[in-house]
Amino acid sequence: MIERASSEQAWKDASKAGKRRAGTGSGAVDRTISDVPLQTLYGPADLANLDVERDLGYPGFYPYTRGLHPNGYRDRLWTMRQFAGFGTARQTNERYKFLLAQGQTGLSVAFDMPTLMGYDSYAPQARGEVGRCGVAIDSLADMEALFSGIDMGAVTTSMTINGPAAIALAQYVAAAEKQGVSRRVLGGTVQADILKEYIAQKEWIFPPRPHMRLIVDMIAFCTDEMPRWNTISISGYHIREAGSTAAQELAFTLADGFAYVEACVARGMAVDSFAPRLSFFFNSHIDFFEEIAKFRAARRIYARHMRDRYGAKDPRSWQLRFHTQTAGCSATAQQPENNIVRVAYEAMAAVLGGTQSLHTNSMDEVHALPTEKSAEIALRTQQVLAYETNVANVVDPLGGSYFVEALTDEMEREAEAYFAQIAEYGGVIEAIEAGFFQREIADASYRYQRSIETKDRVVVGVNAFERNEEAGDIELLRITAETEAEQAQGVRRVREGRDAAPARAALERLQRACRDPKDNVMPHLIACVNAYCTEGEIVEAMVEVYGRYVERSVF
C-alpha cells in the first residue's frame, strides 16, 4: 500500500469515498442552524477574495473585524453582567447585592410586564403579571428602593426597557441625583430600541413615528448631559429569540441601528456627536462558528457603513460595541441541567467573537426566573471561561481560519442583501408596516421547528436521548400573589402621599412638550418623575397625545 501524496485532488477522491453517517441528527450536517450551506472543508480557495488589510485589519483598527481593542481581553475582560429582576424593588435589590458580592461587575435590570408596557401595578391589564418576569417599578420611590445601598456613581447599569425607556431613564437620573450622584457621571444603558419591538419583542406603546421622536430626544439629551451613558442598545437578541436566522438577526439589527443614525442626523445632530455612544446587543445561539462569524461581520459591516455611508470621522463612531446574552430559545425544559453546557458553549462563542459584556442564562429559565443557586452557576460559567480556559489570552484567535473567514464573508453578504430589500420598502418603518420582518422571522422559525420535528436536527433530551423523567425535580423560584398586592398598595401610597398640584402641572407641561416637535421631552419627564408621577400616569398622558399602536398580526 503506497501512501498518496497530500493534494487537493487526493483529498477530493478520499472525501468522495467516505461513507456519510446516517440516522440521528444527520439530516443537517451540511448547513448551519440558520440554513447556511456548509462545505466539508474550507481552504485557501475560499479566501481568494479576502484582502487582509482591507477586510480584517488589526484589532483596534478599522474595520474592526478582529475586535475593538488592540490587546483584546488582555487589558480588560468583558463585563459580566447578569440580567436580574423579580418581585418588588426591595427583593431585587437584595439579589443585586448578592450578585455584586459574588464578583459580578455590572447590573442589568429586568422589569416586569406591566412596567415594560407602561401600566401601574394596580391596572386591570397588570393582573397576574406584577413582579413575575422582572421587577415592578411604578414610580421614583421604587427606583430609589432598587438602588438602595448601591452607589449609582460606581456601578454601571443596563436597563432592558423600550416603550417607556425615556421614563425609566428619567427615574434613574432622578434616583441618582437623590443619592447625590450627578447625571454626568452615570454609566450604563437603557435599551430603548423600539424598532425591534415592532419587529419581534412586541413591547410597544405608541406608534413608530412618535416613538422615534422620543428616542431622538433621549439621544440628544444624553449627548448633552450624560456623556458616559450609552444612549441606546440596538438589539438583535429578541429578533433571534423570535425565531430569526443569524443573518436576519445581524441584518435587521444593523438596519435598525442605521435608522436611528438617520433619525438623529435628520434632527440636525452631527454623526460624530452621538454615534460613539450607540451600542448593540446580540444573541449567542448554539451554532458555534456561525455565531462567531456573525459577531465579526457585525463589526466590519457597521464600520464600513458608518465611515463610508454616514461620513463619520471619529473612529469611535465606527466601532460596534455589543453586549451578548446566551440564547434562551436554545434552552430545554427537558433535562434542564443540560442547559448549563449549552450556555457554556454559547458564552465561549460570544467571547471568541469579541463581546464587550455578557449575560449567561440560568439552566432553569425555561420553567421560571432563576433561583439564586442557578444564577450563581451561570455567573461561575463566565468566570471559568475567563480565568481557566485561556481563550481570552490571544486576540481574535480564529482570525484567518478559512472556515470562519468564509462564514464571516457570507454573513456580510446576506446582511447586505437584506439591506437592499429593506431599502426597496422605503426604510425600516415602512418594512415594519408592511409586515416584512415579521413574516421573514415567522417563516424562519417555522422552518427551524420543522427541522426538529423531522429530526434533521437533534436537540438533546427533546427529540433524541430523551429520559423518562418526572419533570419538576429542580427547585424553582416562586413569585407570590402577595407581591402584586404589596406593589399595588405601594403605588397607591405614593399617589396619596405626594402633592397633587405639582404632579398634575408636570404632566401638563409634558403633554405640551409632546405636541411641540422642537421641544425635548426628557427634562419634562424628569420633572414628572421628581413630582412622583407614576409610570402609568405619565404613559397615559403621552397616549392622549400620541395614541397606542395596534399590530396587524401575521402568522
Binding site: M113, Q125, R127, G128, H367, A368, E453
Partner: protein, 142 residues
C-alpha cells in the same frame, strides 16, 4: 344531514395571547402547524383579555382555544378564561395551552379544567393529534 356536514368541516381553533405578554413565537408556530394540518385557525393577536378570548371563540364558533403564556401570569389568566367559558356556558370548547409553565403549575391547571398544557419541546405532531382527537370528540358530542 346537517350533522354529517358539520363533522366533515375543518376544526376551528382560536390561538390566543393574553395579558401583556408579547412572546408570540410559540403561538405562531402552533397556529401554522394546526393550519398545515387542515384546521381553520383564528389568531387573536397580542394583549387580549380573558373576556375577549372567549368572545372570539364564541363568535368564530371555535372547537378549541389554545392559549400561550410565557410571562408567568398563567396561574391568573388560565383560570380567568375557564371562568369566562363557564359564564358563557361554553365549557364544551376544548381549552388547552402552553408556555413557560412549571410542571407543578401545569398539573394544577389541568386539575382546574385546562385540558392539556404543552411546555417547550413538545413535538408539534403531539399537539396536532391532541387537538384533532379532543376537538373531534367535541364534534361528535354536538
Amino acid at each position: 344531514m346537517i350533522e354529517a356536514k358539520r363533522s366533515t368541516a375543518p376544526l376551528r381553533i382560536v390561538v390566543a395571547k393574553a395579558g401583556l405578554d408579547g412572546h408570540d413565537r410559540g403561538a405562531k408556530v402552533i397556529a401554522r402547524a394546526l393550519r398545515d394540518a387542515g384546521m381553520e385557525v383564528i389568531y387573536t393577536g397580542l394583549f387580549q383579555s380573558p373576556e375577549q378570548i372567549v368572545q372570539t371563540a364564541l363568535q368564530e364558533d371555535a372547537d378549541g382555544i389554545g392559549l400561550s403564556i410565557l410571562s408567568g401570569a398563567h396561574m391568573t389568566l388560565f383560570p380567568l378564561v375557564l371562568e369566562q367559558l363557564k359564564a358563557q356556558d361554553a365549557q364544551d370548547v376544548v381549552f388547552f395551552g402552553g408556555g413557560t409553565i412549571p410542571p407543578d403549575d401545569a398539573k394544577a391547571l389541568e386539575r382546574m379544567g385546562v385540558r392539556a398544557i404543552f411546555t417547550p419541546g413538545t413535538p408539534l405532531q403531539e399537539i396536532v393529534e391532541f387537538v384533532r382527537r379532543e376537538c373531534g370528540r367535541r364534534e361528535l358530542v354536538n
